[in-house]
Amino acid sequence: MTLAVVPPQNSEPVFYVVDEHEHPEGASTMLGFWIYLMSDCLMFAMLFATFGVLGGNYAAGPAPKDLFDLPLVAVNTSMLLLSSITYGFAMLAMEKSRVGAMQAWLVITGLFGLAFISIELFEFAHMIHEGATPQRSAFLSSFFTLVGTHGLHVTFGLVWLVTLMVQVARYGLIEANRRRLMCLSMFWHFLDVVWIGVFTFVYLMGMLR
């Protein structure tokens, strides 16, 4: 339906479409998911702010220099960075509708993600074994909250990754699966962006304190 309104001073009629026009399914998913990522970004920003305030309060406990192992953090960082580029290759394979290549890249991405989580858990276990538990000091509470929240995001990303691989294996590269894979792509690269902040402001700045 189209309404024609003739303004009193003007001879030219102005047309308005008053019907709800049809949106294809999933047309707004990408923007919606982006806005979710932005809200996640705000949450991480506040965790960074908390760490920025409390990060120097050791309560006579261990300081970053006693705990952090920079070569290990560097290895961890490269795991996440490599998983970002392999996910990118998976997306390129998806655009060419090469399902086999895409699944292979997703497996590699998952393995890098798994390596990242394993190294992080190893680091946490090592710290806790040395008595550097989240309860020890405000520095450690905020450290475990910030880095742990990021690790939890990566873990959920891995669960999502496996789910989508099963979906693709079962239903192929249908439009809905492509959309989901693009959302996960944004999620995965976003987590890499957050990690830049973590290794810079938590680990490297911690060693400078």
């Binding site: 026009h21 049809e22 949106h23 294809p24 047309a27 707004s28 990408m30 923007l31 982006w34 806005i35 932005m38 970004c41 705000l42 920003a45 506040m46 960074f48 702010a49 908390t50 920025g52 305030v53 920079l70 070569p71 953090v73 560097a74 960082t77 490269s78 960075l81 970002s84 580029i85 990118g88 290759f89 997306m91 390129l92 655009e95 439009e175 492509r178 693009m182 792509s185 944004m186 690269h189 976003f190 890499d192 962006v193 830049i196 902040g197 290794f199 810079t200 402001f201 490297l204 700045m205 060693m207 400078l208």
Partner: protein
């Protein structure tokens, strides 16, 4: 091209395969590799700076790694997240700008206020004059 191209979206934004936005479909193998190469360099330099202490001064090193992190975030945004001003009719960029403003207010506000609280309410600070 879809029949109902939104007035917000420029016409060239619509692809035959997936008509909405191009901020996810914009990557090529080259752009991913360029982004990856830049990221490796921008990660390696700060680790090297801190581990070797090449700059000597801690404050200078801190400033340098902050700048490098900011550059790397932009690199990731452009080459991996395919951020641009056109996708979704510019609304992803709008959401990003809003978020950056909120993050800056939240971070600087928190650090500023809490720093002053910390300095002024330190136990033992000027306590003798308060008796």
């Amino acid at each position: 091209m879809k029949a109902d191209t939104h007035s917000l979206q420029p016409a060239h934004d619509a692809h035959p395969a997936d008509g909405h936005g191009e901020h996810h479909a914009g990557g090529s193998r080259e752009s991913y590799l360029i982004g990856f190469g830049l990221s490796v360099i921008l990660t390696a330099i700060p680790f090297w700076l801190v581990m070797s202490g090449a700059l000597g001064d801690k404050q200078l090193t801190g400033l340098a790694i902050t700048v490098l992190a900011a550059i790397q975030i932009v690199v990731h945004m452009v080459y991996f997240l395919h951020m641009n001003t056109r996708s979704e009719g510019g609304w992803t960029m709008m959401a990003l700008i809003f978020t950056i403003i909120m993050v800056v207010i939240g971070l600087t506000g928190t650090l500023w206020v809490m720093h002053h609280l910390n300095v002024n309410m330190m136990p033992g600070h000027d306590m003798s004059t308060m008796q």
